[in-house]
């Protein structure tokens, strides 16, 4: 039997079902951790925070992996509709809520209730969640996520009070996936994914894009996602 025959059901199907299996395990794992956590009195061991962080990260990476693969195969389309920016921020805060309740990081949101944007809300909140997750890891005590209008764009901004982005993540060309820095585990995949999804959001001849710098009002890293 040749090797090609073994793959006759197709790599996309194998990838999709693997992701599916891992996600199921991940869900069960989180449920188990949750049950363990209930046994402990406050203050709970900080390891729970780390566990929550890692599972969030695994989950986000898996989603991004699958999505990027589908984009590559042209088997992906955005599901664009009008969404309230406040709802998207609320989704992000909800995803981070367990992590927040365990740590000493303050997550602040700023957004006008009447601000609407046209986007694939599941993709955008997934992309932003990864970045907020990272910001929480690298900040000292504060992360601000905000949404506002700038010219003809809706801008989602994530700022923290940490040390700021390393040099390699501030390149203007996020389309290049940078060399994996094994020492820090910093791959830039989250930024690459967000840039890719942003690019797919189009109005007339305007595309979405991202900007990273260290001009946070709190002195740390600042990330901005522009959607037309």
């Amino acid at each position: 039997m040749s090797n090609t025959h073994m793959l006759s059901i197709g790599f996309p199907a194998i990838l999709a079902s693997s992701v599916h299996d891992i996600k199921n395990s991940l869900t069960a794992l989180r449920a188990l951790v949750g049950q363990l956590e209930n046994i402990y009195q406050d203050p709970k061991p900080t390891e729970f925070r780390q566990l929550e962080f890692e599972t969030n990260r695994m989950n986000n990476s898996l989603m991004q992996l699958l999505t990027l693969y589908k984009i590559d195969l042209s088997q992906f389309s955005l599901s664009v509709d009008e969404h309230s920016a406040a709802d998207i921020l609320e989704d992000i805060v909800a995803q981070q809520s367990t992590l927040l309740s365990l740590g000493n990081v303050q997550l602040i949101t700023e957004c006008h209730g009447d601000l609407f944007c046209y986007c694939d809300s599941a993709m955008i909140s997934n992309a932003l969640c990864t970045l907020v997750n990272n910001a929480q890891r690298y900040c000292k005590s504060k992360v601000l996520i905000s949404a506002s209008e700038e010219d003809d764009y809706i801008v989602f901004c994530i700022e923290d009070d940490g040390k700021g982005y390393p040099e390699n993540l501030m390149s203007p060309d996020y389309k290049q996936l940078h060399q994996v820095d094994l020492a820090t585990g910093n791959t830039g995949l989250g930024l690459f994914f967000t840039e890719t999804i942003a690019q797919l959001h189009v109005k007339d001849d305007k595309h979405g894009f991202i900007v990273t710098d260290n001009n946070s009002q709190f002195g740390g890293a600042r990330f901005k996602l522009y959607l037309p």
Binding site: K23, R30, T55, T67, F76, S77, S97
Partner: protein, 540 residues
């Protein structure tokens, strides 16, 4: 908005015990008291038969038996879910939403695993507040009062709630399409597209073009959408429909084939593909699609003996008579007490034995068919009755064949595509002019009934006219002309005599029926307006 879960009946459908436990724990921490768990689709259906739930959280991937989508379809089909209940599908993957959309029933929302307590609560709250906001519209849709639903939609739009605006506009346009008010639908979609290029609004314009008969324009719209959004299956479904309406079945098969490749789990698409491929003699595709349909049907309300018969017939056509017999055996095994299934099986059995040259067995099977037909003819589907007519004719029983065809033409005279099927069959086996003269004859009969009713009405004999049309509608429940005349007379009666709430209800029911069978807005809209005026007066 904080939703009070204490007063809500909640069903959690999930095969993993640990997940059920966690979800229950979360719901409990938000005050929920009435929580029922089901670890399989069948148990979920049983639970919904016993209790009317306000909230159903259902996992898509249930290990054994029905999946979440099949649970949803069955619950809606059996009307186990109250109109205002929310059904949230829990899935592992975002893209599932698209793959399942369109042809299938949609849940109220999706929730992607894994989720924490706040994510779950947020989803329920948002879904709940949207549902509550739209209650006045959804209740009317549920009872078939589409015009009232449109009116309520307009009222909500006037409140100008920005968060709900798009949702309302989408519903509004869809309702306008449903009652055949294409102008209103087109205006609404154009307005939205003027603000922003949204795929569903663009699709809506294509649908309007389809209904107005601008097929080329519709096709272009759907093809452009597919190119831009390769996973937009609704665009495929409409493209297929348009090709079909143009009589271009081969194109329809090829578009549908692409859609099925993208969504192999959608039983209705597989079924449709099987039928279309069968019709165009594309036997390999038909075989594959029937087989898939049968497999997917095992846990679905869309399971049908017709799929087995279809597959057996494809085998027969591909000179594999023994394979065909095997499928028939399976058919008989799967559908014990189903007369339609028995009829299909014996009908095909006769044909198979005939093909194999075994005339004694063929005769025996035909005898069984005749007997079953006597018992059940009126209860079986029209497609099967048409096949029965063919079998009777081929076996020399012209009288029974005539009888069935007469009845089929009479009850379906307004259904162009089914009448076309009848004509095609008659032309092929009986002769060119047969169907034509049958149709003329029935049309004349109808004209006579209408004339009789109308002249009674003109003589002032309202009661007599009503009787004529009511009798006619009992015999031909989907006849558009009769139905329209009946409604007109009831409304006239209401206008000229004392108001009678019962008559208003009956008129509304007939109008709803008219909308449902596709009488267009330009014929029914005015009557609805008149009835509304009468009703408003009687309420004063």
């Amino acid at each position: 908005m904080a939703i009070n879960l204490a007063s809500k009946k909640i069903l959690v459908v999930e095969d993993q015990a640990i997940m059920r436990e966690t979800i229950k724990h979360i719901l409990g921490s938000f005050g929920a008291r009435f929580i029922v768990e089901a670890e399989s689709g069948i148990n979920a259906i049983t639970a919904m038969r016993i209790d009317k739930f306000d909230i159903v959280l259902c996992d898509y991937n249930l290990l054994r038996g029905k999946n979440g989508q099949q649970v949803l379809e069955e619950a809606r089909h059996l009307k186990l879910l109250p109109v205002n209940a929310i059904f949230i599908m829990v899935t592992c993957e975002q893209s599932l939403e698209m793959v399942l959309s369109a042809i299938d029933n949609k849940p109220d929302d999706y929730l992607i695993k894994p989720f924490n307590r706040l994510q779950l609560l947020n989803r329920i709250e948002r879904c709940y507040s949207r549902k509550t906001y739209l209650t006045s519209v959804e209740n009317e849709i549920d009872s078939g009062n589409l015009y009232k639903a449109i009116y309520n939609c307009e009222k909500l739009l006037q409140l100008d709630d920005k968060k709900m605006r798009m949702q309302l506009l989408k519903m509004y346009a869809e309702l306008a399409l449903k009652v055949g008010n294409f102008k209103k639908a087109e205006e609404t979609y154009q307005d939205i597209l003027h603000e922003r290029e949204l795929p569903w609004a663009r699709l809506g314009l294509g649908v309007v073009a389809f209904f107005l008969g601008y097929y080329d324009q519709a096709i272009k719209t759907f093809q452009d959408l597919i190119e831009q959004y390769p996973m937009m299956l609704e665009a495929y479904d409409w493209l297929v429909k348009t090709h079909e309406s143009m009589g271009n079945d081969e194109h329809a098969v090829s578009s549908l084939n692409s859609a099925v490749t993208l969504s192999p789990m959608s039983i209705l698409r597989q079924k449709k593909l099987a039928l279309l491929a069968d019709k165009t003699e594309n036997l390999p595709v038909a075989k594959k699609a029937y087989t898939a349909t049968i497999k997917l049907g095992k846990n679905s309300i869309h399971r049908s003996s017709a799929d087995y018969a279809g597959l057996a017939n494809v085998y027969l056509k591909s000179n594999a008579a023994n394979e065909a017999l095997k499928i028939l055996y399976e058919l008989n095994q799967q559908f014990h007490n189903d007369p339609e299934a028995k009829l299909r099986a014996s009908l095909l059995e006769a044909e198979i034995h005939q093909t194999k040259g075994n005339s004694a067995l063929a005769e025996q099977a035909y005898g069984k068919t005749v007997k079953l037909n006597e018992q059940f003819n009126k209860q079986i589907s029209r497609e099967l009755r048409l096949e029965m007519a063919k079998a009777f004719y081929l076996n020399g029983d012209n009288e029974t064949c005539d009888e069935i065809l007469n009845d089929l033409v009479r009850t379906n005279i307004d259904d162009k595509s089914f009448i076309k099927d009848i004509v095609t069959l008659c032309d092929a086996i009986i002769g060119e002019s047969y169907a034509e003269s049958l149709i003329q004859h029935i049309k004349k009969e109808l004209v006579d009934i209408n004339n009789k009713g109308v002249s009674l009405f003109q003589e002032g004999n309202i009661k007599g006219a009503l009787t004529v049309f009511e009798q006619a509608i009992a015999k031909m429940p989907s006849n558009q002309t009769v139905l329209l005349n009946l409604i007109k007379i009831i409304i006239h009666d209401l206008k000229t005599s004392k108001t009678n709430p019962e008559k208003i209800i009956s008129a509304q029911a007939y109008i709803n029926k008219a909308v449902q069978i596709g009488i267009p807005h330009n014929q029914i809209g005015g009557l609805q307006a008149e009835l509304d005026t009468i009703q408003n007066k009687s309420n004063q």
